[in-house]
Symmetry: C2
Subunit: 549 residues, 2 copies
């Protein structure tokens, strides 16, 4: 049996584009004599459709695309994800389904049983879990058809569900597992995915065909990395990362004796390289899917905005990135010269607009109230906000999207100005800790140097008052990032972190800063997610709360 | 049996305050000879604790409070909500539980079975559903103890769950139902609540004691309105709205023959009055729980900012509200005079800061790029953003929270400036349609007039260019709000709305505006929720999506 995987980049709610892509791949597979082609989970509408699923009209459009795909299935089996309507009133109105289409008809609809409802996932918000499991018989083979999470309840010490669909299906002696997925990228996910699929083949002793989305949907980046494993758990192939792909396999050849002893055929993975590629795709798809071409951003002379400029230039082309330097009286000379050098390296045009006059005008307007109160946070924020007004004016006038350049360390402790440097359509490195930003810069610079070394080596500064350094207000980033990682990614409480050897007062101060700045993060742009726990839809915290606050 | 209800206002994660309140009520009840006292769902930690629940340290603190409450229960039964740890690895790590405490011990822990996971609710994100149901025997009575949603699967045409705990419990012949709840307010909810509880008494023929939270937690406002129904479904009492309350009942008296034929004892409810009171409580609790006293806001001369000024003055006291008029060259004279009259009526001080100089400074700074391009959206937004910089500078300097004054109609169609008039710590009327804002103004003005009539009667205008009117860009609000309500609250698609008689082009234009402005709403402050479908946590939409966009 010849089986194809189509790893594609869909656009949520763009039924015309999604349907066309799927049908093109079906036609190609049919022409190649493929027996069965797999498309990802909810491919028809894109993932995650979120509350669009609550509109009957949206479900009607999904059904139309499924019907159109079915028309193309003379002589070829197609497995594709789309929502389906729960026929009984009890329970949620929809299932998250895998359709098996054949010979112009919907042959079977299999419902996802394990509905991820944690981190960025909200599936039980929309879907009733499937409860009936039986294999699909097709051309003499029995297919255990599963949807994404359905395979994830094995090999865990702390399983999140009380059922396991494959434990039921295995009694019917399937010949292989087909799994259609929508698994978003994080820098740890690729390894987890291989681990879980291996655990499945080892438990059930059948090959697995796993097909994933690729492409970004606002904050969520799908890496592709679809997989084929043989019955012994060997990775036969891992599909490319961050790009569309189409592959065909012969089921019988998968476990041929000639493969015995061969190692896993997996792509090399390096955390920082993966993050780099993910962010480039994240920017690219955000612009393409919104119908924009050009980005604008403020270039401070620091590492964060330099990094975002490089990533944007790689995603959109240097000609589509417009960095603006917005110096104030507190900006150092090297801020401008370093920025100019960066832009020269990238071959992009940079402009300079001083904020002194608007800043002074604000000071003048506020004088009757500020009187002779000392210069402080209010005046610092006014500078950041004056920059934002200028950048947004250019964005509004010329149709560029403003890129936000805050990093995760700053976002965590609220070291940023709301409606100032926290503005933007999308936050590019808001899930990248400062220490990781340096690693990304070194990765970008490995050959040739793109980011001038002085940008990397100078002490970080917001330059909002004379001789300001980040370290005046914050712990050193290597300590800060460790504590943040323990609190945010690992969800350790203050006592657990202190017991690891960190200073008690410091830990309490950092955790308090994280919690009392929830109000700022609530109003920031969506953040491209590259870690297992990003700010945004995957981390939902009360604003009015007292815990550690 | 004497049963007490304690309708209290908790603060999420403020274990010291919540524990103290609960223990005070237990002591009072004990002194009054009460046999059993009920506190709301997750009273110990406040509702909703959101991802704080993922911290073991947070759960440990909940357990500590439960243990402290238990110590107070010599001779009195206490039912109180708190999370509890799932003892088996399979399934989610926690239950949403009702603790029955007696004589210093945890006598029983009952787990919520129906976990709301829709609109603003995320309970399956954290909790495993309870699956074992049995009554609690106490002083010769059998208590059917349930948590909130557990009673909500009756009387619906489209039940959201496949199980119904009371259908099991009723076989054990309970004497009454105790239901501990966390049901947030919307203007329709009080009626729904009574309807559902009546359906329960009619189905199971036992009295119901229902205790709810009161108080606001950021966007969610809990109205209280706890209820006691007799076995015939008569409402014996409805506790007050929007304030704490404590009541005692004699179980035996509830269904005494002397009550036969009496009507429901329910409070009169009027939608606009409820919204008014909810918003006042929403503002009050937001400030109190964050530890702030004073509000600042921009006063434009229009109805929205006038309304927010009145609501804030009622919530915080007139002395704690600081309205600022920020006229530009496009502001009409009546904007200032009307605003001054409003503030005189309220007895509050108002200040005026012109934005002309910062606006001109920005125009000057941008001249090399804007050249002689015509005045447009960019220039309009620059004015709104200049106002925001001034308001935020005052907020930062003097420790006031900026109140956002956008209404729901504007927020829906994106008629507002991101980082301009869309700024603020909390959006007061972001869930109030423009047509409802007029109704609120009339309600406030019923006696005596507070909001000058000219503010209510003048045509709405953003005053960002000469002679601008909202109706230049938007349909008339009475039509707009009807279409928005059908799309947002009722989740009708374009075809269904058009079939109701609305113009096709208009419907498509409005729905498109709603969808393409998701990016703006993503960055707005939390919105006090008063409708069944507010923007924010209860409505989760893709930003990068094509459906109707």
């Amino acid at each position: 049996m010849k089986i194809a995987l189509a790893q594609q980049d869909y656009h949520i709610g763009n039924f015309e584009e999604n349907g066309r892509k799927i049908i093109e791949a079906v036609r190609k597979a049919k022409a190649n004599g493929v027996d069965l082609i797999l498309f990802p989970e909810l491919a028809v509408c894109g993932y995650p459709p979120r509350d669009f699923l609550e509109f009957k009209d949206f479900i009607r459009l999904c059904d139309e695309v499924v019907a159109n795909i079915a028309k193309e299935t003379q002589g070829i089996g197609v497995i594709v994800g789309s929502p389906s309507i729960n026929p009984v009133p009890e329970g949620k109105d929809l299932f998250n389904s895998a359709y098996f289409l054949l010979d112009g008809k919907i042959e079977r609809v299999v419902h996802k049983a394990l509905l991820p409802t944690y981190d960025v996932f909200d599936e039980y918000r929309y879907f009733e879990p499937g409860r009936d499991f039986s294999v699909i018989e097709y051309k003499g083979k029995k297919i255990a058809l599963t949807v994404c999470e359905d395979l994830w309840n094995v090999g865990n010490e702390n399983p999140m569900y009380v059922t396991c669909p494959m434990d039921v299906l295995t009694d019917q002696a399937p010949d292989f597992i087909a799994n259609i997925s929508a698994s978003p990228f994080d820098y740890r996910h690729a390894a987890d995915r291989i681990h879980v699929l291996k655990a499945n083949t080892q438990r059930y002793n059948v090959p697995v065909f796993y097909v994933n989305h690729v492409g970004a949907q606002t904050e969520l980046i799908f890496d592709g990395g679809s997989l084929v494993l043989d019955a012994k758990g060997r990775v036969v192939e891992e599909l490319p990362y961050f790009e569309e792909a189409y592959r065909e396999y012969d089921l019988e050849e998968l476990s041929s004796p000639s493969n015995a002893g061969k190692p896993d055929n997996v792509l090399p993975k390096e955390k920082i390289a993966l993050i780099h590629d993910a962010l480039v795709l994240g920017i690219k798809d955000y612009f393409r899917k919104l119908g924009f071409k050009k980005a604008i951003l403020g270039l401070s002379g620091g590492i964060d905005s330099a990094l975002v400029t490089v990533l944007a230039a790689r995603a959109l082309g240097p000609e589509n990135v417009w960095p603006i330097m917005l110096p104030s009286q507190f900006s150092s000379d090297h801020s401008v010269t370093d920025s100019e050098k960066l832009c020269a390296n990238l071959g992009i045009k940079v402009d300079k607009i001083a904020i002194e006059e608007p800043f002074q005008a604000f000071l003048g307007a506020l004088q009757p109230h500020f009187k002779d109160l000392p210069f402080g946070i209010a005046e610092e924020n006014m500078q950041a906000r004056s920059r934002a007004v200028i950048l947004m004016a250019l964005s509004n006038k010329f149709g560029h999207i403003l890129l936000n350049t805050s990093n995760k360390s700053e976002a965590a402790v609220g070291y940023g100005t709301l409606y100032g440097d926290m503005c933007g359509g999308i936050s590019v490195i808001g899930d990248v800790y400062k220490t990781e930003a340096y690693q990304l810069a070194e990765y970008i610079n490995r050959n040739p140097e793109v980011i001038p070394r002085n940008i990397i080596t100078k002490p970080p500064s917001a330059e909002l008052r004379p001789n300001q350094k980040d370290s005046d207000s914050l712990p050193e980033y290597d300590i800060l990032d460790q504590v943040l990682h323990l609190y945010i990614e690992q969800r350790k409480g203050p006592q657990e972190i202190i017991e690891l050897g960190f200073d008690e007062a410091l830990v309490k101060r950092i955790l308090r800063l994280v919690n009392i700045n929830e109000y700022k993060r609530h109003q920031t742009p969506p953040i491209l997610r590259i870690s297992p726990k990003a700010f945004g839809m995957g981390r939902r915290m009360p604003i009015v709360g007292k815990y550690l606050g």
